[in-house]
């Protein structure tokens, strides 16, 4: 990639952000909206700086919950998808449960999970796992099911044992699909953690937003929101780059 294209890639989102900030500033400062409803961006940035210790602590908690949730959900989802591929019995019994995990809104479960797993990070990790379990499991399972039949025929003529076909052909062939699921999971895992924090917690960005909201510290709420968004985007970007490197054979056609 040329230096110009790199520059264009970096500059373009910055221009978009600056445009959004200008619009925000215009509405807040010139539109006569009171600051407790919509604080101006400069006020939010000032608050962000003044409360940086508080925000960093909260972000650390939420990041830990998100990463633990992602890790556990990824392992659990991948294991279940593999088990459902290897065994028809497991597939028939577990498929309704996988669907159920998506059909029940996590918001509705949140109070229950806090009741069961406490105010600490455990309930938030469980929440994040529940949120990402479905995209991980279903995308990986789909990938495992959709091995090109010609590859399977070739493996059959080679006299391959089914589990070796799974390990050497179907599993690697499903990794790009798994990667898509993981990207989606990375983007939504923080939502699970934050929802958990709203319901009951003693730290974290969701907890901070909740308390700031009840005290009409709207600027702090916005600051926490910005930190959360930045954190999610950076996490997603890191996972995306890592996947692009691990799945070296998959054409990365959206590099532009």
């Amino acid at each position: 990639m040329t230096a110009r294209r790199v520059a264009a890639r970096t500059v373009r989102p910055l221009v978009t952000l600056a445009g959004l900030a200008a619009l925000w500033w215009g509405v807040a400062r010139l539109g006569g909206v009171p600051p407790y409803l919509l604080p101006a961006p400069d006020a939010v940035v000032r608050t962000m700086w003044m409360q940086r210790g508080l925000l960093a602590d909260a972000a650390g908690t939420t990041l830990l919950e998100t990463v633990l949730g992602l890790g556990l959900g990824m392992l659990g989802g991948a294991a279940l998808a593999l088990a459902m591929t290897a065994s028809g019995v497991i597939r028939r019994w577990m498929m309704p449960l996988v669907l159920l995990s998506q059909a029940v809104p996590v918001f509705a479960l949140a109070p229950l999970l806090v009741l069961w797993f406490g105010f600490g990070i455990a309930s938030k990790v469980v929440m994040a796992v529940l949120v990402i379990f479905f995209p991980i499991t279903s995308s990986f399972f789909d990938g495992l099911r959709r091995t090109p039949p010609d590859w399977l025929d070739l493996a059959r003529t080679m006299g391959a044992a089914p589990w070796r076909v799974l390990v050497h052909v179907r599993l690697p062939a499903a990794l790009p699909a798994f990667g898509s699921g993981l990207r989606v999971a990375t983007a939504i895992a923080p939502i699970g953690a934050v929802v958990g924090e709203w319901v009951g917690a003693s730290s974290g960005l969701g907890f901070l937003m909740q308390t700031a909201n009840t005290r009409f510290e709207t600027d702090l709420m916005f600051a926490a929101l910005l930190v959360l968004a930045t954190m999610t985007i950076l996490l997603w970007w890191g996972v995306d780059r890592l996947l692009a490197r691990l799945l070296y054979w998959v054409p990365d056609s959206v590099v532009d």
């Binding site: 080679m158 006299g159 391959a160 044992a161 070796r164 690697p172 054979w249």
Partner: protein, 249 residues
């Protein structure tokens, strides 16, 4: 560099072989013997059931009637190498690992030296660590040929293996295949009359509905026959005529 010949390749006998698809017969009552150690080419219009026939021999599809057997009485299972129209290379595996894929799938030790020697013979000795995406279509098909040969099976079944290649690359692949598969029982499907006349020691036509097998005299001379050999050109014209008549009928 010579490769060890597999012990006595069997002839393949079709006995009353029939296959129905969705209730209507693709072919029925096929009786034929593919001679041992002979390169047979099967030609026919598309959709006539060539691939179905080859898949039945490869034990990938179960025939609805009759059977496929080796003339030595032993099962054909484990004695067949398959090469398809697509190269079917695993995109995440390097060239050398694609060639040894069968060993990995069977949990056998990997004969890396033999795989390297095969790749050198198909002219890819310097691309062992390349990924399939870094190779041209012709190179990929040569890797697939090396993978087929690595299996070292007495019977080799090929379903239009060169049809996606340009004509020059295709001619080179035909030379290579004729040379490297000599002595094995080969059944190759093609829709290209020139390919049939260059490679076939036996040329067969599958045509009609339900399809029947008929033998066509092969041109004289050892294979691979030159593309400009008068016998090859005459045979090619004759086959083309038969195919056109068959389609019209």
């Amino acid at each position: 560099m010579t490769q060890a010949r597999p012990a006595a390749p069997p002839a393949i006998r079709l006995e009353g072989l029939g296959l129905s698809y969705a209730g209507s017969p693709v072919f029925e009552g096929l009786d034929f013997t593919f001679s041992a150690g002979t390169f047979s080419v099967l030609l026919g219009p598309s959709g006539v059931g060539k691939t179905s026939l080859l898949r039945s021999i490869a034990l990938l599809d179960r025939p609805t009637a009759g059977r496929v057997m080796a003339d030595d009485g032993a099962s054909l299972a484990g004695r067949i190498a398959w090469m398809g129209q697509q190269d079917l290379l695993l995109p995440w595996a390097r060239v050398i690992d694609n060639v040894t894929m069968g060993a990995r799938l069977r949990g056998e030790p990997i004969a890396r030296g033999r795989a390297e020697a095969l790749l050198r013979r198909v002219g890819l000795g310097d691309r062992l660590a390349a990924l399939p995406s870094e190779l041209s279509g012709g190179m990929r098909q040569r890797v697939a040929l090396a993978r087929t040969l690595y299996e070292d099976r007495p019977v080799v079944l090929m379903d239009e293996p060169f049809s996606a290649l340009d004509s020059v690359t295709r001619a080179r692949m035909q030379d290579l295949a004729a040379d490297m598969l000599r002595g094995r029982t080969v059944v190759l499907i093609t829709h290209d009359p020139l390919e049939a006349c260059r490679l076939g020691q036996v040329i067969l036509l599958l045509a009609g509905s339900p399809a029947r097998l008929s033998s066509v005299p092969a041109p004289d001379g050892a294979t691979p026959r030159p593309a400009d050999d008068p016998g090859v050109l005459r045979g090619q014209g004759h086959l083309m005529r038969r195919l056109l008549d068959g389609v019209a009928a």
